[in-house]
Symmetry: C2
């Protein structure tokens, strides 16, 4: 189908997220990932040191923190400032781009906060009547 191909091309040009080949998918995946969302929303409050972030984002390992921070820096969402002191001081902060993302992202997180009860209740209801998650 010719129209099919045209549609695909149009979707690619427009960054159609539904398209399999959308170049944004990898970035979206990592940016909306478990840890990245928390890291970004933590940085909304202001610049943080590595250890501060590690403490703020409960349960994250240094490896994951470092890894996510690097990915976010690569995407141009966070800025990494190294102070030439001893011991070294590294400060992470949101770029303008990152701050822009933080808006929609925190709204999403806040939605979860507001509707957390409903979500939990729905799960309990679901589990109680037909399919317990395990066993």
């Amino acid at each position: 189908m010719e129209t099919q191909q045209v549609a695909t091309a149009a979707r690619l040009l427009a960054h159609d997220t539904f398209d399999k080949k959308c170049a944004l998918r990898p970035i979206m995946d990592q940016t909306t990932s478990r840890w990245a969302t928390l890291i970004i929303s933590a940085l909304v409050a202001g610049p943080h040191r590595f250890a501060q972030l590690h403490q703020r984002v409960g349960g994250i390992s240094q490896k994951m923190l470092s890894q996510n921070l690097k990915a976010l820096a690569r995407a141009g969402l966070v800025d990494r400032q190294v102070a030439p002191t001893n011991p070294p001081q590294v400060t992470y902060s949101l770029t303008d781009l990152g701050t822009g993302l933080a808006g929609p992202l925190t709204e999403l997180i806040q939605w979860f906060g507001r509707h957390g009860g409903e979500l939990l209740a729905a799960q309990e209801h679901y589990d109680s009547q037909q399919g317990p998650p395990r066993g």
Copy 2:
């Protein structure tokens, strides 16, 4: 520290997303996961059949689609309607809760659409000057 424990308790009651034990984390993880975001935003346009979704969300496998759909149904975000016909017709649609989530979520996706160019450019710039992604 007593205050530490009190703070932790307060965070749990308030669904503090930063807390390691936050009960919402698993739900958030799967809801903001690669496929779930696309499925939800696909359903905003209206109810879909299984095959329709499979086609709409480019690159997803039946397994992942089925799995995500089940998880979303469990969280009370999508509704599953089975018509007793032959062959069976199963229709998925957003619940009110799901529609509520779709708002913040589509805003987030649209943000990526608008700033996709900047993100991609930032990555290229980053890679070109210091750290190519894979040696």
